[in-house]
Every structure is written in structure tokens, then in C-alpha cells.
Amino acid sequence: MQEYSVIGKPIPRVDAVEKVLGDAKFAADFSFPGMLWCKILRSPYAHARILNIDTSKAESLPGVKAVCTGKDFNGWTWGFMPQTRDEPPLAVGKVRYFAEAVAAVAAVDEETAEMATELIKVDYEELPGVFDPEEAMKPGAPAIHDYVENNQSWEFHMDYGDVEKAFAESDIVREDRFQTGKVITGYLEPPAAIAMYDANGITLWGAKQSPYFVYRHLAACFNLPLNKIRIIQPFVGAGFGGTKNDSVAGDFCSVLFSKWTGRPVKFVYSMEEVLTTARRRHNMIIHSKMGMKKDGTILALQQKIIAEGGAYTAIGPLTMYLTGAMTTLPYKLPNFRHDAYRIFTNNPVSAAMRGHGVTHTRFAAEVQMDMMAEELGIDAMDIRFKNAVKAPHETINRVTVKSCGLTEGLETLKNTDTWKRRGKASASGRGVGLAAASYLGGARQLGHQSCAALLRLCEDGTVNYLTGATDCGQGSDTVLVQMVAEELGLRMEDVNIKRVDTAVTPCDPGSYGSRVTILAGAAAVKAAQDIKGQLAEFAAREWKVQPEEIMFRDRKAFIKSRPDQSMPFGKLAKIACYSGSGAVIMGRGYSRYGLERYDWDKGLGNPGTSYSFTAQLAEVQVDLETGVSRCEETILAHDCGRPLNPINVHSQNHGGTIQGLGQTLYEEFLMDEGKTRNPTLTHYKMPLSTDVPRVEVIDILTDDPDGPFGAKEASEGCIVSTPPAVVSALKDATGIWFKTLPVTPEKIYWALQEKKKQTKDK
């Protein structure tokens, strides 16, 4: 293994000092002279026709500068694909979910803007709503979009091998219905932005996880060329997919108001707006049928998915793709059929969230496999050893695995004291569970795919690094700087990374699908190599050797065969920059892998560049009287290829695990005819420090050939493995399999009561 100077080291984050001082500026921390405040009026109905909007009273309130409604956007709508552009900035004609944005006000201060929204009079004709996907699919259900039959937003099918034949050949076949919960990403920073529209076009300082999405949306909405759209990235208070990948009503309205008034316009959503209107994870019903040989070999899996889409399509088609295409990992699966239906309802919109698409189907398949193993008398560890893929591997839908640490991860967990406590609970309510998962990194999509990097060498030997990739908290700025510094033989402080400014940084798809380390990282490495190549020419000239002879390390350039012959990097930079007119040293790089297309219609090919593998143990304590459960311990054996910054990678995994734990035991929106009954952090219960254990992460090193420095994704895998691991632990503790998430104390209590009754009846 090559010795690195910064890669693989627990280096502090490049933004750590700013953050602990409170100096890191987030979107809501900015304000400009003459700035107006934008507030949104939201619908009091989940499904209603808009008959009339009277804005006159709001307009005449002193301090109000402008009011806009849906018609001011001239029929423009947006969406993930050309055929799914079904979402207007503000509702037009009708509202399709409760609290959908209907109108907006710009005023001199926040209070006035808020007051003015209450003066807008909207006449509605309430329409019957539909709030359950299985109801919405039925003929005759209220139609949410006129052009759609049976409220079917999207469908996706895969059929590989011969499931019917395989079921016939199986020793046991089992069918179950699983259900996942209505949950949300849960970032703490509400969406916020300041918009400025002037002769230069649009400038938006926005809390965006993937600013180049918004860049394209604003260009299309305001009919401007892309070179007039400038999204500037403040620090971002986390994303986790969904809302912060997309634009929100506030973005469009603030830009429009700035266009009208010539003044900067700011909006900041409230947490209630976040919890009632922001993108949620799709909740899904999974009908799963698995066939298995007596020895535990999985022969076939057939799954039918009904996913609640909410009122608009958003990125839902990709969710449907991933629920299927990724089910063929992490176990060998020779026959697979997948039928997924995304259904519109009058609930808030479902979209991507960490572990996108995969959490649902892996939860179902993992638990079902365990149920069957139990029927066959096979240990949960052994059934995983039996079926785990090993690299190299190609799945039946041609997903190619070049590195895989799953078996090693399982071996590692098998030897822990925690695993040895499995099955020892008897009446104590203690239980240990196991699960595994794989997740894609370096996600591909059908449109723009490549990441790029630009490095500008300064004459003192320091480097400015421009990337289009966004660090929304995951720590990518740090790991990207590590890569540049490593490659150039510099120190962390010699490389200054600039946050995204779409007028300056190279275009980037976005921070989703665990793509930044892998793809923006590859670009960074190549850009650094470009700089090295140029500098080597100058050094070679000085020393009269071949450029290939020049190496860079410890802030020095030297000759490979004569390491004593060296020159400070800064001196070489000066020589190069002063060598003559036009001597501007810039490095360019772009990612090349991940470019081959996959078959979007059939689920065939690689949805990612590489695949992480996670094996996880969870230990729970259940109060057998009350049903209250708690996760007391959890250990991940995690193959991310190579952790380029162990602190960062572990912290990502801690966070993903606890987010997954919240969604397994605690979190769930309580919906009532489209209204969210728990739109507060007290009642939508995300874990606090007192609710959770420490998360232990054991790195399984596999050095993926396609990762920069061997790296693969981290933390989307563990949000997938946590729910089945915890459910498996609950089974060990209570003897009961839970198939519906979240597994709340009420569910556990009633299941225990039922079990007692059945035992008595026997």
C-alpha cells in the first residue's frame, strides 16, 4: 500500500474553525441594503379549485411592494424529466396538497410580509381528496392531475431470469406485505435564499445542495441564458436529498419580486413550512415473494411496489428505478421481477432522500430472507454468508461489482461480543439483530454526468481550487482538498477551495447519489495532475532532465533518481508563473468514469460507479410491559473502499445510522386528510442525544479500482441496513417480526398483547 501524506488521515475539516466560531455564514445570515422580505401564502385545503384570488387589500398595506400569484409565471412548470414537468412555482387553477404555495408577498420587513399574506383573499371550491395510494389507484378515485389515469404518476418494470420457474423449483416460497413510513430528511436549516435580479441577470445566495439544478430551473423559468444565472453557495445546513436538491416556491417568487422591484429579496421558511410542505421520502407498500432452497440459497424474488408520490412527480421516476435496479445487491439473485407503481395522492410531494429508493426494498427483502432462514432453521449470519456476493460480480441486471467487503464484514461482526449475545435474550427483552446492504456511489443519471475541477496556481505556490460540487455538511470540501494536496505534495492549508458560484465554478450535476468524493474527486486528481505536468516541464528545464523524472512531495519538487536535488514548490511556482508572458498555470480535470449509459426502461446496467457494502449489528432493549424500545448498541462493518478521511467517513456513518434509527423506531408524519398533524420537532420525533447509542464503525478496506484512492460511497448504505438490523433485533427481543415501519411502542405493545393472547389460547 502506498504511503500517503494526507489521504487516509483524520484531518480536521477545512471549515471546522469557521463553524465552531459561529462565523460560517448560511443563507439566512445574509442581508443587503434595501432588501425586501418574501412570504408565501399557503393553501388551507388539500385539494381545491382556485376560483379567484383578490390581492388588492394586501397590495394596499403600507410596506408591501409586490404580490404575485401562479399566473405571473405564465404557465411555466418544472420537473425531473420533460414529460413530468407538472409542478408550477405557485399553484395555478387548483391546489393539490395542503399548504401548497398559492401566492406570495414582498414587503419591507418580515412582519409586514406575513401580515399581508393574510389579507390575500382566495376563493376555493373544495374537491374530494385522496390520501392513500391504494385508494388513489382505484378507478373512480378523485383525479389529481387531469391528464393521468388512475393517479398513476410513474411505473417501472424489470423482469430477469424466470421467477415462475424458480418459485416452482424452490423448497419454500413466502409472500409478505411490508410497509415503510412517511418520513423526512430532517435538515435543521430551513430553506432560505436572497435573490437579486439586475442587468447582469439573476444572482441567488441560496441554501442549495445541488445549486446547478436551481441554475437550470431559474434560467428556464425566467427565460434567461445560463450565463446570466449566478447561484452563490453559502454554507448549507444539511440536505440529505429532496428539497435542497430542488427549487422551492420561495426561490421563484423572490427572483420575480426582485425583477419587479429592483431590490434584493430574501425568504426564510419556517420549520412548520418545512415539516408540512418539504419533500418527503416515498412511503411504500412492498408485496414481496421470495423463493429459497432448503440450504438457504435464494432462487427468486418478485416484488410489487406501491409508492405514494404525493401531489407531483419530482424525482419519483428515479426512485422507482432504484427500488428495483438495486435490489439485486448485496445477495446473489438469479431470478428477479419488479413492478413498481408511483401513485399521486393529495399529500406533500415524495422525492429523494439518503438511501434513495433502496431503503424500502432492502428492508423488505432483508426481513423476508430472515423469516425464511428461520423457517429453515438457518442462522441469520449463515444465510448471509451463503448468499453474499463476492467481487468480481455481475448481477442479473448487469450491475458490476469490482470490490466487495461484505463477507469480511460479516466475519468481523460474527466475532464480536454483541453477536454472541444473539438469541440469549429469553425474557429480558434484549435482542441482537443483523442486516446487510449495498449502495451505489458516483450515481449516474441520463443527462449531465461529469464533474470538473479547475486549479489556479498562485505564484507563491498556493492553489485556488474551483469545483462545482457542494459541501452541504458531508465534508466533501475537506476530502477534495485532501486529494488535491496529496496529488501536488502540498499541505491542506496550501489549497483553498471555493464554494460554488455558478458564474465561476465548473458546472456540476450536484451532491446526490454519493457522487462527490468519487466523481468530483476524480476530477480534482486529474486537475492536480495537469498542474504537475506543467510544473514538471519547468523543473525539468531548470535541472536539464526529462519531465517524467520530476516528483512532488513535502512542498517540494525533486528528481526521482536524486531525491537530494529539490526545490521548494513555491519557488518552482514562481519560476513557472514568471517565465514569460501568458504563463498562467491552471489545471483542468474532469471525471471520465460513470459515463456509459444504462437502460432506463429495463433497469439494466450500472446506476452507480461503484458499490459500498455494509454489514450491521444492532442491539435493542424492549420494555416488554410498555413496548418502549431503545437501540443500545450498533456496529457497522463498512466497506467504503478506503476511508479518505476516517473521522469524516465515520461521522457520516454515525449520522446515517441514527437517521435510519429514527425512521425505524420514532419518526412518522401523522396525516389527517392531507393535513400534517405533527409539524413540529417535538411531535415529529427525530432522535436527540439521549435517545441513541454511540455508533461504532469498523472499516473494511477493499480499495475499489474506480474510486479516487480506492474510495467508494459512505453512509447511504447504513441508512439502508439500519431498519432491517433493528427489526431483526426486535425479533430477537420479542419473538415478533415487524413488517411496518416505524415500529413504535404502540405497535410493539399491541403485538406483545396479541402474542400473549395466542400463547394463552394454545
Binding site: L21, I647, H650, M686, S689, V692, V695
Partner: protein, 159 residues
């Protein structure tokens, strides 16, 4: 409007406030100390935590007029770029943050905790930051950071 006198990070400020204005608004919008954040605005998330007269409070729940005559310490007042306090130092070294939005509140709560209890147990640390919600880290590295700060401070005390 009412004039209040409040000492913020050691400096006496005289400010005209509206009756409905919160301490958080005064800190962020009048004094331009934007370290404290508004996450939920209703006292649930702790992103706006400051120390007022020796107690941690959610500044979004304190009316500005209630802060009249009080002394307030914000994240800007617990350490400086030249000299981070031990909790800040430990958060940097042990990765006690990701997105950083909860961090100012965590730093204030962590600093306050160690002032009151220099050698907390893990459970006491968890209690000490139970009013500060973090979605990114799962709390593990935050707890390790506070433990490390406590360790360093007690070493310092012994030497």
C-alpha cells in the same frame, strides 16, 4: 418601542426594541451576531442557544424586553479565532460537526456544561446537549469532542 440595556459578550448595548421582538432577533439582526441560528423558532432545536445570566436559554423564546438588564453570552463570546475555547478546539479536532448549523448552539451548551460540571459522565453529556438537535452526526463525535475537552481541561487544571 422600548429601550433595553443588555450586555452581550461583555459589551453594554442600548437598543430600542419592539414588544414582540425576541432576543434572537436582537442578537442576529440588531447586533449582527449571526452565530446563533433560527432552526425551529419555537424552542425545540437549540440552534439559538445562548447563556443569559448564567443559564443556557433558547434565545428564540426570550422576548428582548425580558433580556433588559441581563448579561448574554453568544457563541461569538465563548472563544475567538486567536484562541478557541477548549470545547471549540475539541470539536475541530474530533469532528464534532458536519453541516455546522447546530454547532453554535452545541458549542454554547458544551461550554456551559463543562463550566458547571468539568468531569461529566457520558450520560451527563447527553443530558447537557439534549436540547440541541443535530441531524448530521448522530451525536457520537459531538460527545467524544466534549469528553476530549473535559479531559484536556482537567489535565490543564492539574498542571
Amino acid at each position: 418601542m422600548k429601550q433595553i440595556e443588555v450586555t452581550v459578550n461583555g459589551k453594554l448595548e442600548k437598543i430600542e426594541v419592539r414588544p414582540s421582538e425576541t432576543l434572537l432577533e436582537v442578537i442576529r439582526e440588531r447586533l449582527h451576531l449571526t452565530g446563533a441560528k433560527e432552526g425551529c423558532g419555537v424552542g425545540e432545536c437549540g440552534a439559538c442557544t445562548v447563556i443569559m445570566d448564567g443559564l443556557t436559554v433558547n434565545s428564540c423564546l426570550i422576548l428582548a424586553v425580558e433580556a433588559d438588564g441581563k448579561s448574554v453570552v453568544t457563541v461569538e463570546g465563548v472563544g475567538s479565532r486567536e484562541k478557541l475555547n477548549p470545547v471549540q478546539e475539541a470539536f475541530v479536532e474530533h469532528g464534532g460537526m458536519q453541516c455546522g448549523f447546530c454547532t453554535p448552539g452545541m458549542i454554547v451548551s458544551g461550554t456551559y456544561l463543562l463550566e458547571k460540571n468539568p468531569r461529566p459522565t457520558e450520560d451527563q453529556i447527553r443530558e447537557g446537549i439534549a436540547g440541541n438537535f443535530c441531524r448530521c452526526t448522530g451525536y457520537t463525535n459531538i460527545i467524544e469532542s466534549i469528553e476530549a475537552a473535559a479531559g484536556k481541561m482537567s489535565e490543564g487544571g492539574e498542571s
